[in-house]
């Protein structure tokens, strides 16, 4: 799972409606996997990210290269796009867990696959 996917996942336990994003990463194993740098794609995806959540998550994983806010010239700032590329598309969480900051539900990540399934009574 790349960090872009982590940025899309939210706790969906019944009645857990506030403060349930982003899921906190714990006990993670991270792998860096090189990927093609595609500025056009990054330019289009920026608007779909929850930026502060993304930055915080990267920091949790030891990547402090992302700016706290998206630069005004983001679209033609190649240096920024490269940093974004690495954090968003090359950082893979292979093992670990995601914990809801509100209800503490644990969603496991195994072999790079996040498991968002809940038991019947949790839905």
């Amino acid at each position: 799972m790349r960090l872009i996917t982590h940025n899309m996942l939210q706790c969906h336990v019944k009645n857990c409606n506030d403060n349930n994003f982003p899921l906190r990463l714990e006990e993670v194993e991270v792998e860096l996997v090189e990927a093609d740098f595609q500025p056009e794609f990054l330019q289009n995806i920026i608007g779909k990210l929850e930026w502060p959540a993304f930055v915080n998550t990267a920091v949790q994983l030891g990547n402090t290269n992302l700016p706290a806010t998206i630069p005004d010239n983001a679209k033609d700032n190649e240096e920024f796009l490269k940093v974004l590329h690495t954090a968003l598309l090359e950082t893979h969480v292979q093992q670990g867990k995601m914990v809801c900051p509100n209800c503490s539900h644990v969603y496991p990540i195994k072999d790079g696959i996040p498991n968002m399934l809940l038991a019947e009574h949790e839905i």
């Binding site: 994003f21 794609f41 696959i113 996040p114 399934l117």
Partner: protein
């Protein structure tokens, strides 16, 4: 020619646990291929497939869009399928992230109105309703009454997921009463029509193409 995904890393033992691509899968690939110019011109940034099984469809879509890059993401309730999807992407040079979940649980509200291409080859066979529960190979086909139960559970999400320019490709068979599904979608305000159909043995399979009305 868009290459049919290489699945040589999966063997008959794997296909005891995950759905092996069949006529329905290939009909969906053909619908995508038929629309390749439109799909490329769309410049999709997020493509989501539900129930990706072996990963054949999303891998094919990723190859079709090349050299353009999109965020390819899929879900499957079957853990073996989730692993296979990622592996198939890797084998064919397409990065896919897969989430083990039912339909889109956990992906909303974040993915609201952001899916540019949505695909689903659902479990569509007529079976007792009880067979839908579970996460093994049987949920690859078990569709309950009229084979419609998982399909009907999915329809309300289409409005949530599709972006302004988004396209949804849904495979159905004649038992699913496709005309009824098309009108349900039209009542919801979508453009929906059957864009491709074919006989597979005695079963008619077809693809419904859905867009927002502009």
């Amino acid at each position: 020619m868009i290459p049919t995904p290489d699945l040589s890393h999966l063997n008959s033992k794997d296909f005891r646990n995950i759905y092996e691509p069949a006529e329905d899968t290939f009909l969906l690939l053909d619908a995508l291929e038929q629309d390749q110019d439109e799909l490329r011109a769309l410049h999709p940034s997020i493509c989501l497939e539900l129930g990706s099984g072996s990963g054949c469809v999303t891998t094919f879509l990723g190859s079709l869009l090349k050299p353009s890059l999109a965020y390819m993401v899929t879900t499957d309730i079957n853990p073996h399928a989730a692993v296979a999807t990622v592996a198939t992407g890797k084998k064919n040079g397409i990065s896919i992230d897969t989430v083990e979940t039912s339909l889109v649980q956990g992906l909303l509200p974040r993915m609201r109105h952001s899916i540019d291409v949505l695909c689903f080859n659902p479990p569509y066979a007529v079976t007792p309703s009880s067979e839908i529960a579970g996460n093994g190979i049987e949920v690859s086909w078990a569709g309950g009454i009229d084979g419609r139960e998982v399909i009907d559970a999915t329809l309300p999400f289409v409005k949530e997921l599709l972006s302004e320019k988004g396209i949804f490709y849904l495979l159905l068979v004649s038992d699913n009463k496709p005309d009824e599904v098309v009108s349900l979608l039209q009542v919801e305000g979508f453009n929906a029509h059957i864009c491709l159909q074919r006989l597979a043995g005695r079963e008619k399979q077809l693809i419904v193409k859905v867009t927002r009305r502009t």
